[in-house]
């Protein structure tokens, strides 16, 4: 492997954590490579921030444009930035493979920072696979990168801060919203209040939430609280035609051509899983996250994780972690890091920013129907496997998700379990009377993104330009 291009640090992902890390690494003089899947830096939260598309800046709000300064930091950093690059393998000998422009390349690293962000929590419910149902995050991406708003009539259903945010943004953009169907269970409010101490510390976030709720109220859009039994129904053409739900004793039905759904976000752990890093179940956030030391180091001594992929904290937390974790890496590589006082103040800021999390996590814990679906609800979208089928496999002797996979192909499609993994674990735990921690998760296999056989084959030939070996 002597001919491989070597870097002190390779950063995966150019969202807030990755961009902040890049700036720190460059200032410390590390030979750094940043690889990003998107054509332009920003991650999902600051997507397209380098070329904002909307003429009216008030639609997305100032929180979005905050990303401009991070991008400026990245632009000034002295490093190699490869966009449209998909990392599909990381091996134990500190090398990784990525695909860009139809060609795969291998590079070596001393330290690796995973800043791969979050994905929306999969929200299985009857009809969630219908064309016309998409996530709130997807609608936001369309707004940020193409200035597009969903076809009306539009209904927004689910729970969480992003749900309120996209509702406000679309209302500001002049979109007619037929209804906002909030599924946050009543009981959550009481439980969340126990965490009010943290919430008051994070009062800025609380205030933001209240402003959004006010904005929605003023707009006159119908707001259905504590809804249950969400179901999307197709029309004769097979596309989404309406959504139904229960509120109290009343069953409602709203016609719609777009249904935006959301139940919070969870760390993107796919790469860490494939590498074989240790993960743990977070009962409060109801998701898996990597097991990390306080300095951001994973169970592999040279692999660090920052931002939402380390545990959900949001954009500001990601940015601070990007800086602190990179500082740790800089020091481990024998270079001079920041002053202790500087690090202390970053740590304090981090704690302040995270103070509201317990409140939010308890408040927006999804309704059981989304975590542990029943009946014919599709769980694995790729291979079209239902909740009933997964549950039934326990009676056939399945005790873990890897057996389930072998028995019914769940998790074997192109998304490689990203949309069904957490649900399958939850269903098995439910049927076995166990918990997700003991049930475990799919073994995730490389490549974590599809790569063509031709591209892979090209790696076995000696290449002229250092492409491999």
């Amino acid at each position: 492997m002597t001919g491989l291009q070597q870097y002190d640090l390779v950063i995966l992902g150019a969202g807030p954590a990755g961009m902040a890390s890049a700036k720190e690494a460059s200032e410390a003089g590390l030979n750094t490579l940043i690889l990003d899947e998107q054509p332009r830096a920003g991650g999902q939260i600051y997507r397209n921030i380098g070329r904002p598309i909307l003429q009216n800046r008030s639609i997305l709000g100032e929180d979005y444009y905050v990303g401009e300064s991070l991008l400026a930091g990245l632009a000034q950093a002295s490093l190699t930035h490869i966009s449209n690059a998909t990392v599909w393998e990381v091996t134990g000998d500190n090398t990784l493979c990525f695909s860009a422009e139809g060609m795969s390349r291998q590079v070596g690293f001393k330290k690796l920072l995973l800043a791969t962000g979050a994905q929306e929590r999969p929200v299985p419910f009857p009809g969630w696979t219908l064309p016309g149902v998409m996530t709130c995050g997807a609608a936001q991406i369309l707004l940020k990168s193409s200035g597009l708003t969903p076809v009306e009539p539009l209904v927004i259903a689910g729970s969480g801060p992003l749900l309120l945010l996209i509702a406000c943004q679309l209302i500001r953009a002049g979109v007619r919203v037929e209804g906002i169907v909030e599924t946050t269970p009543t009981a959550n409010y009481g439980r969340a209040l126990k965490e009010i101490g943290g919430a008051i510390k994070g009062w800025r976030h609380l205030l933001k939430g209240m402003r959004m709720l006010n904005e929605i109220r003023r707009s006159g859009v119908k707001f259905y609280k504590c809804a249950t039994e969400l179901r999307a129904e197709p029309g004769s053409d097979g596309n989404l035609a309406s959504v139904s739900f229960r509120k109290g004793s009343t069953l409602h039905q709203l016609e719609c051509q777009t249904l935006l759904v959301h139940q919070g976000v969870i760390p993107n752990t796919q790469l860490g899983r494939a590498i074989g890093l240790e993960h743990q179940w977070d009962e409060v956030q109801q998701c898996w996250k990597p097991t990390l030391l306080e300095n951001g180091c994973s169970s592999h001594p040279d692999i660090f994780i920052a931002g939402d992929s380390a545990g959900i904290g949001g954009a500001i937390v990601a940015e601070i972690q990007g800086r602190t974790v990179t500082n740790e890496i800089v020091q481990q590589l024998g270079l001079k890091g920041k002053k202790d006082s500087e690090i202390d103040s970053l740590r304090k800021e981090l704690a302040d920013q995270l103070a509201i999390r317990p409140f939010l996590d308890y408040l927006y814990r999804p309704l059981d129907m989304f975590l542990r679906p029943q009946g014919e609800t599709i769980v694995c979208r790729c291979e079209e496997v239902s909740a009933t089928e997964i549950r039934g496999l326990v009676k056939q002797g399945c005790v873990g998700p890897n057996q389930t996979k072998a028995f019914c192909r769940s998790g074997m499609g192109p998304c490689q379990g990203r949309q069904c993994g957490s649900t399958v674990t939850a269903l098995l735990a439910d049927e076995l009377g166990s918990n997700p921690s003991d049930v475990g998760y799919y073994n995730i296999r490389f490549p974590i993104k599809p790569v063509t056989l031709g591209e892979l084959a090209s790696l076995s030939q000696p290449a002229q330009d250092g492409t491999v070996k």
Partner: protein
């Protein structure tokens, strides 16, 4: 494109226009946007049928996670439309079930 499910374009900053073909129809997209976005703007739905049951699907996550937006882009089947940027003259069609290979014989 029987029914129109077109996503509306808000007033945008200056962008070059790119002409592409979606299911045989010429469509104007904006430089720098993804095929999935252009397809949503065009109003096409569904954008693929599954290899398992043949039911219709359309883009779901727009960030490369769900693989629901697989389409045939410039003759390349099963390509993630949300991870591919539009380019002049691009030809996009619905991905019908499992992909063909060895196209000239089948």
């Amino acid at each position: 494109m029987a029914a129109d499910f077109s996503f509306n374009r808000l007033p945008c900053n200056e962008r070059a226009e790119v002409e592409i073909t979606i299911e045989g129809h010429k469509v104007i997209a904006l430089e720098g946007e993804t095929v999935a976005a252009a397809v949503m703007h065009s109003g096409l739905r569904p954008t693929r049928t599954t290899a398992v049951s043949g039911t219709g699907r359309a883009p779901y996550c727009m960030m490369g996670v769900c693989f629901e937006c697989l389409m045939n882009i410039d003759g390349k089947p099963n390509t993630q439309a949300c991870m591919t940027e539009v380019s002049e003259g691009m030809v996009i069609t619905v991905q019908q079930g499992a992909r063909e290979i060895g196209g000239d014989r089948l």
